[in-house]
Point group: C2
Chain length 230, copies 2
């Protein structure tokens, strides 16, 4: 591995309180992979992109966050717990952390492709692949301690305002980007279902169906949120 | 706890090779909860339904299955791995196991409500809540051994036929229920996106949008599969 690249990774890990003294080359290779964007792989044969580690890291995160919620709030219910988990393992939240922990500065990508095409999704994916590598190298307990420090701080008081419904969250997102006038066009589909289209300036941003108009609007907003954040 | 109920639970656990000799009342209460349907809770104050354990069990399952895939197929990619995981942690697959392990015979529900309103989803939820209780009482390693025996048998040879795309799977599902003539109605939305509606006999079963017609059809079929399986 390139010496400068390993030095950068070492800094990241040590800043996050991981001991790197005993890491073998095989262990380093997980972190190397975790910071390798697919555009780099296209130009450098024999390298692997972070996507498979992201698959693993996402599952580790979902599990550990669910576990923390379950034991912190033993009398919660699955609806609220699911909403709380979504608000924590949220693209914007993880993307913010990838920036705060300076993970984004370390990414290997083809000629700045990562920074040029930079999205919240890419940053959030990077956080997940980093978690995947920590899991492979240091184990589950180490990931648990790490996310308790960076992701689950103040879980007890985690603001309920983060648990807003998708319609409100889409509205906020649209407003911050200077647009306005969200319109939901609802149609009865004739089979007991409703269709809702969420539109801005005559453009459809999401379509949802549901058993009630409210459910359809919620589904449409959820889809719009996904597309908008990509 | 009712003596007969505990005896039933004991049988289930011992058939699945769990040692029940040292279980405390608190530990039994997790299994009691795991087999309690919400219709029972409505009529019996002080009882809890299995839904919160299902939330936890689902996350445990997703994590352990992802982990098994990652280490069994170190050179896989995230797309195939995600499809493989979905095929394993699949409602029909888990529902089948809930029946094979006779979990469904143990459920406490209001006056047969569980069996009358019996769906694959309810059976699959029950399997997840059972996994949640095993995790709470016996720990993560015990769940791992358990699912290696019942869910991950022959993972190496897991048939690729389970990994069909959503359109094929929807077609098969519809055919087994005696219907036919699935039709995809595609429309260009004018903002670079396509909308697809999957229809049977003029009824809309799913709507999807995507950047290509193919992507939109796939999204529509995925939604239709979800609705059809509920």
């Amino acid at each position: 591995m390139n010496k400068d690249f390993r030095k950068q990774l070492k800094n990241i890990l040590e800043n996050a309180s991981f001991d790197t003294a005993d890491l073998t080359d095989e262990m380093w290779s997980y972190f190397e992979q975790a910071f390798t964007h697919k555009t780099y792989v296209n130009e450098h044969k024999g390298t692997k992109s972070y996507q498979y580690l992201e698959f693993l890291g996402d599952a580790v995160l979902q599990f550990l966050v669910s576990n923390a919620i379950f034991w912190t709030f033993p009398n919660d219910n699955e609806g609220h717990a699911t909403a709380l988990r979504s608000a924590i393992v949220d693209r914007e939240n993880l993307g913010r952390l990838a920036n705060e922990l300076k993970l984004v500065d370390c990414v290997r990508a083809s000629k700045g492709a990562y920074n040029n095409g930079k999205t919240i999704k890419a940053d959030s994916d990077l956080f997940e692949s980093f978690v995947g590598a920590i899991y492979c190298v240091y184990g589950l307990g180490a990931v648990e301690s790490f996310i308790e420090k960076v992701l689950l701080v103040d879980l007890e008081n985690f603001s309920n305002s983060s648990l807003k419904d998708p319609k409100s969250r889409f509205q906020e997102l649209v407003q911050t980007s200077g647009k306005n006038d969200i319109f939901y066009e609802n149609t009865a589909l004739g089979n007991g279902l409703f269709e809702s289209r969420v539109m801005i300036d005559k453009c459809v941003y999401g379509i949802g169906i549901g058993k009630t108009k409210k459910e359809a609007e919620k589904a449409a907003a959820t889809e719009a949120l996904k597309k908008y954040q990509q």
